[in-house]
Amino acid sequence: MSQTISNTDRTQSNAIDCLNISEKKVGLFVTCLVNTMRPSIGFASITLLEQAGCNVEVPELQSCCGQPAFNSGDDEGTRQIAYQTIKQFENFDYVVVPSGSCAAMIKKNFVEVFKDQPEWLARAQHLADITHELLSFLVDVCNFEPTGIELEGSYTYHDSCSGYRSLHVYEQPRKMLSKVKGLEHNPLNGHAECCGFGGTFCVKYSNISNEIVAEKIENVLATEADYLLGGDMGCLMNMAGKLNREGHKEIKALHTAEVLAGLAPQLSGGKDAS
């Protein structure tokens, strides 16, 4: 019962928040994988955020969230990258990231590297507070529901580890996808089990990563879904790459934002969205 009450409270406060959202400036942190490998996710994010009533801006001086350095243990390198990100994004009302792991990096890990720098620690903490992962932001903050999107077929969902465990993204994408006409959900066995990407892990321990992703795609194929969806380009690239290497063309890997923005029909493999 107490759970229900708190959910209602949250919905109400979101609704109030939502009324003002168009006056709020949202900065989109594109992420380097989306920038380089899959711009359509970035454009889909803008479309969805605008549909949700946000005033979206994309600061041009952005680069990477710093995960490769942070996860390698290079704290100084991480700080150098984080200074830039903080300066570029701290003045927005919200910062939105179409990736669970990059969002978690900014929300949870920036503060780790500024422990000894009080001024930057405060700025990093402020950025952490205003930063959101895209799919959870759309639902939890904007109360957004996609309308008029149709896609025939079935999807299965991979919950990326950072989004799922660090940011508790689980219900939000499923809730929005349930509004897509014609699209059915085939649940994935081991939906929140790591796909073996792990950033630099997949290259440093290519052989272990390969075993993990091989098992992951077995589970994906067993769902017989038409689409493999997720919220992180890294995991999607890893699983899509393995599926293609093994000759499985019957399933298309897409970012949830691409589906919700209605881009799915025109996207395939790595071909241009345009």
Binding site: N35, G66, A69, G73, D74, G77, C161, F201, S206
Partner: protein
């Protein structure tokens, strides 16, 4: 079997992955453990509270370690036990062997103890004139096979039933010719029973040390700890100092967490609290009881900001749920403690220089932390060991160079974006029908999977063009 070394981690991994049945063998155990744990937690609605309570008990005891150690010693002495202090593994092993030699022991029985493995007790006995007899069924199997343990709860999980049949037929005096598990267990029991009764000294570990009574606690399913401890004249306990808890009441929530997290059982067959040597009115028990309290890097971990790791109650849940462990198995780590907990402990027991590769063999996916019964932030600790390793420059130079070059680019957004744009042009050269099968410098990726073909321009290039078109239009 040849024992792997932690410094040969890459080689160990290749060897493990080349073993065709290994994955199936590991899964037989870990899948069951995962499923049974999930069921046990589902039937334990107060799990989150118990976990918080367990964490608090551990944190409190660790914080006041000096106080509780002194209290434990005082009460253990009052029970008639003899307390020894060892700061290193070698010291602890020497103390144990000296006691055995003073008693002119020829045969010692041991109940399963990971600390015993950690301090090298098994090797020390094997290099001495004293015969070591492992009494835990799985430890008995790997002793016959000459293997190190591959899991902290199921040390023989890498051995199949066929292996066990073969080993028992070769080594048991009166072996069974059946391949049924009950018959195999009976064969081991026949073999071990006489050994229990003729042992000179019994050696055990301890799951908990109770400060307010000086008791040591063993948790087993086979009753072998009781038979190891009771018949011989001398009992030696070796225990890490982090096993301390203030009292029985504090051990109980940890026991509830331990058995559920380890095997999914609500309780084990035997949980015994041992209180010093036999008293005047006792029917049986050892005449002499020695407790060896071992530091072996634990106070260093405490001083080093790794105190959260000292909460560990050795349930093995982190390895049962680790995607890396599940594919490479325990032996590949080359250390006593495998899996996520091992990746944190081994750098302290051996050295970070030797064990830094294990800390990198982790996707930081957080599953271990999610199932840890005492909330140890394993990914955070693993990451912080990488940061130390980075400062000490232990990583291969090429890895360091790539990360540093990336960071140098990423801190200059304009240069970084130019780099991304050039990267797209470069990747396009190798793309065929939407995919890249091979490209220089990316063999780590393309060896096993294809790379998606990027769009013709980066997001930023497209976005800038779009914005310009918009403003020109206006």
């Amino acid at each position: 079997m040849q024992v792997n070394k932690p410094e040969d981690f890459y080689k160990n991994v290749s060897k493990a992955l080349a073993q065709p049945d290994l994955k199936m063998i590991i899964r037989r155990t870990t899948d069951k453990a995962e499923k049974k744990r999930a069921e046990a937690i589902a039937n334990f609605p107060e799990f989150e509270n118990a976990r918080m309570q367990g964490q608090k008990v551990k944190d409190h005891t660790i914080k006041y370690m000096d106080h509780y150690l002194a209290e434990f010693e005082k009460n253990a002495l009052a029970q008639g036990a003899i307390v020894h202090w060892a700061s290193t593994g070698e010291e602890a092993t020497k103390i144990v062997l000296d006691i055995c030699r003073q008693h002119k022991a020829k045969k010692v029985t041991r109940s399963k103890s990971m600390l015993g493995e950690e301090i090298g007790l098994t090797h020390a006995f094997d290099n001495s004139e004293i015969e070591r007899i492992e009494t835990d069924l799985a430890e008995h199997i790997i002793q016959l096979a000459g293997d190190p343990p591959s899991h902290i709860v199921w040390p023989a999980m890498h051995r199949s039933r066929e292996d066990v049949v073969k080993l028992f037929r070769e080594f048991h005096l009166d072996p069974t010719y059946s391949e049924e598990i009950t018959d195999l267990v009976r064969s081991a029991r026949r073999d071990l029973r006489t050994k229990f009764l003729t042992s000179d000294i019994g050696i055990s570990g301890s799951n908990f040390l109770l400060a307010d009574s000086g008791s040591t606690c063993t948790v087993t399913n086979e009753g072998n700890a009781e038979l190891t401890i009771t018949p011989p004249k001398v009992h030696i306990v070796t225990a890490g100092i982090e096993k301390l808890v203030p009292s029985m009441a504090h051990a109980v929530p940890l026991l509830r967490l331990l058995t559920r997290s380890a095997t999914g059982a609500e309780i084990t067959q035997y949980i015994t609290f041992h209180n010093g040597p036999k008293r005047a009115n006792d029917a049986d028990g050892p005449e002499e009881c020695h407790i060896v309290l071992v530091d072996n890097g634990r106070t260093k971990m405490l001083a080093d900001g790794m105190e959260e790791m000292l909460r560990c109650i050795r349930c093995g849940a982190c390895m049962n749920h680790c995607v890396v462990y599940k594919h490479i198995g325990g032996h590949a780590y080359g250390s006593v403690y495998p899996g996520p907990m091992g990746s944190v402990l081994t750098p302290h027991l051996d050295s970070l220089e030797v064990a830094n590769k294990q800390t990198h063999a982790c996707t930081l996916n957080g599953r271990c932390e999610e199932v840890c019964p005492v909330n140890i932030p394993l990914p955070k600790l693993i990451r912080s060991l990488r940061a130390r390793s980075w400062q000490k420059k232990y990583e291969p130079l090429t890895n360091r160079f790539i990360v540093q070059a990336f960071a140098a680019l990423a801190k200059r957004p304009r240069v970084f974006q130019l780099f991304c744009s050039c990267g797209v042009v470069f990747m396009k050269l190798f793309s065929r029908q939407g995919w890249i099968k091979y490209m220089p410098l990316t063999s780590g990726w393309t060896r096993n999977r294809d790379l998606i073909e990027p769009e013709s321009k980066t997001f930023m290039q497209q976005y800038r063009k779009m914005k310009k078109a918009k403003s020109d239009g206006v």
